[in-house]
């Protein structure tokens, strides 16, 4: 009995120790984004508190001319960058979505298991390619190619950025959609066939609606990645501080603006503060995306459904 008691006491001790260690790690890691957030808040609100610009001006004004000094007095309207980010994300989504969905459906519904085993790692390989490589290839291959077809006065363009981003987020959306489609139970497909449906009717009316939660998640993850991409976009978008007026003209995004000017702006100056506020905005946007994902997942389960 004594041996048993000792063993039990030791087991309880180990259990407690493990719990403490794991909790500590978890808490520390959870603290990191919180701390980052707090830091961004601290620096990012300088524009409003120190330099007395309004939120409306920041979000909606197209005048970007912050003073690079500690006195300020310039204009901090980030609307052109916000629009640029949104435009390039939307463009990449529109370009990639048809291909993503087609690839996902092909992989899960049509391809033979052998083909799937080749295709899946090939797509996943995409995600391993560094952004700088994308940017580089975009710069050296895509831009001349586009220039030869479309009128591109400045070589760099919104379109080029959209295409590069589309390729970058393609694997994310495809693999998540493919997983969601594959997770639809085979029994639902069989039931659909048993009622006299063709393969496409089954895909359209049963499989895709059943997978729409996962597909939506994939799209939003892709969007989040697009929103946050700096390097590849910077290399092909031209970084002109203007509103995105045409597909064939250069523009700027929040990320390119921050990456381009952060190094040069004076510490503590208005310009610097403006950039920090843009960083804060990006941070808040990612939060928004995550909540959006949860919301859509909840929406996609009908009333009364057991999750």
């Amino acid at each position: 009995m004594n041996q048993l008691q000792k063993a039990i006491a030791k087991a309880h001790r180990n259990d407690r120790t493990a719990k403490i260690l794991i909790t500590a790690c978890g808490v520390c890691m959870a603290l990191v984004p919180i701390l980052i957030g707090l830091f961004l808040f601290y620096r990012g609100t300088d524009t409003f508190t120190l330099f007395h610009h309004s939120l409306t001006e920041f979000l909606f004004s197209g005048e970007w001319n912050p003073g690079d000094t500690a006195e300020g007095g310039g204009k901090v309207g980030a609307a052109m960058f916000i629009t640029g980010s949104l435009a390039v994300c939307l463009l990449s989504l529109i370009l990639t979505l048809p291909f993503s969905m087609a690839a996902a459906i092909f992989m899960t519904e049509i391809a033979t298991p052998k083909a799937r085993r080749l295709l899946q790692p090939a797509i996943e390989l995409f995600t391993g390619i560094p952004s700088v490589v994308y940017g580089f290839v975009g710069l050296t291959v895509l831009i001349p190619f586009l220039k030869s077809i479309f009128p591109m006065p400045f070589s760099f363009s919104l379109l080029a950025a959209g295409i590069v981003l589309a390729i970058m987020i393609f694997p994310t959306i495809t693999t998540m959609s493919a997983d969601a489609l594959a997770a639809v139970p085979k029994s639902w497909r069989e039931a659909s066939y048993g009622l006299g449906a063709t393969r496409w009717e089954t895909i359209a009316h049963v499989v895709i609606p059943a997978a729409k939660g996962g597909i939506a998640t994939g799209i939003i993850l892709g969007l989040a990645r697009a929103m946050g991409e700096a390097l590849a976009v910077a290399m092909v978008i031209g970084q002109m501080k203007v509103f995105p007026k045409s597909l064939f003209l250069p523009a700027s995004t929040l990320t390119t603006a921050i990456s381009a000017d952060m190094g040069g702006a004076m510490e503590g100056g208005e310009y610097n503060a403006g950039l920090w506020t843009m960083a804060l905005l990006l941070f808040l946007l990612s939060f928004a995306f995550i909540f959006l994902i949860h919301y859509i997942n909840d929406l996609s389960t009908l009333k009364g459904e057991k999750k």
């Binding site: 139970p185 029994s187 639902w188 069989e190 039931a191 659909s192 066939y193 048993g194 009622l195 006299g196 449906a197 063709t198 009717e201 009316h205 049963v206 609606p209 059943a210 389960t301 009908l302 009333k303 009364g304 459904e305 057991k306």
Partner: protein
């Protein structure tokens, strides 16, 4: 409250609900043959899963397929509505005729699956509302008028003896129902497609005894208008509800006869060994 005497002689109370006649029930009357299967063989790759099976299925009868696990009874059932087409490397030879026509050469695949419906072992309601589940088949057939669909949904749910339970939650998810209710919903869904045959692959093996009994009662009612073929590993169930029983063993059809005859005095000694529990 109307009292009716059921097949076993005990009385059951009906609420006033009517059980409407299915307008498009099988044109053939009892005594004719719904399925004629002659010398059918089935191969999964090199594996000879069904060997020289021949059987006639009469209209408006319940035919039970029994046999130990792996004997081929489910495989045989799935061949009748060509669900085996979905399996890779599946090859079928021989003659399978539905209402006189060869199901591989003379009947359109979609039409076959509409006329020959199937209920599976695990209840499989779609992640849609109850209404949309039942309306799925009719929508495939081109019916989109809301009024028509409502009528068909109500009729099918009544025939499946679950209208009262579900009429107030037609727009709620079907996944919120209990197992027995889900299975009856699946039966309603199959009925909505206006079949003349219902194939049931061990429909009650995942259900509790009360739900099982409800579905058996349902099968007995449905056989007046439909032809039913049911795979079951429960011999008592085969005895309770079927008119004819087929015994499969290792891919062969060993014996096929009236249920009473088979269970009182089977012709084949292997049948007797199986049904008296001496193996399997």
């Amino acid at each position: 409250m109307a009292l009716t005497t059921t097949t076993y002689g005990y009385t059951k109370e009906h609420s006033g609900e009517a059980r409407p006649v299915s307008a498009d029930a099988a044109a053939a009357d009892s005594g004719s043959l719904t399925f004629e299967i002659k010398h059918m063989d089935l191969f999964y790759g090199d594996h000879h899963a069904l060997k020289d099976v021949s059987m006639d299925v009469r209209t408006h009868e319940i035919t039970a397929l029994i046999g130990p696990s792996g004997c081929g009874k489910s495989t045989f059932l799935k061949s009748l509505n060509r669900m085996n087409d979905l399996v890779e490397n599946c090859r079928i030879t021989g003659d399978i005729r539905f209402e006189g026509k060869d199901i591989f050469r003379e009947v359109d695949l979609l039409a076959l699956r509409t006329r020959v419906g199937m209920v599976f072992q695990q209840p499989t309601p779609f992640p849609k509302s109850i209404f949309e589940n039942v309306a799925y088949g009719p929508r495939l057939q081109g019916i989109s008028n809301k009024g028509q669909l409502s009528e068909i949904v109500e009729q099918s749910l009544r025939q499946a003896a679950c209208w009262d339970e579900m009429k107030d939650r037609l727009n709620q998810s079907a996944l919120g129902l209990s197992g027995g209710q889900q299975q009856r919903l699946c039966i309603a869904r199959t009925l909505a497609a206006r079949p003349s045959v219902i194939l049931m692959d061990e429909p009650t093996s995942a259900l509790d005894p009360i739900s099982t009994q409800k579905i058996e009662d349902l099968a007995l009612e449905l056989k007046e208008k439909y032809t039913i073929i049911i795979v079951t590993h429960n011999m008592q169930q085969a005895k309770r509800i079927s008119d004819k029983t087929a015994f499969f063993l290792l891919g062969e059809l060993i014996e096929f006869d009236d249920t009473v005859k088979m269970f009182t005095d089977p012709s084949n000694p292997k049948t007797e060994e199986y049904i008296t529990g001496r193996f399997g």
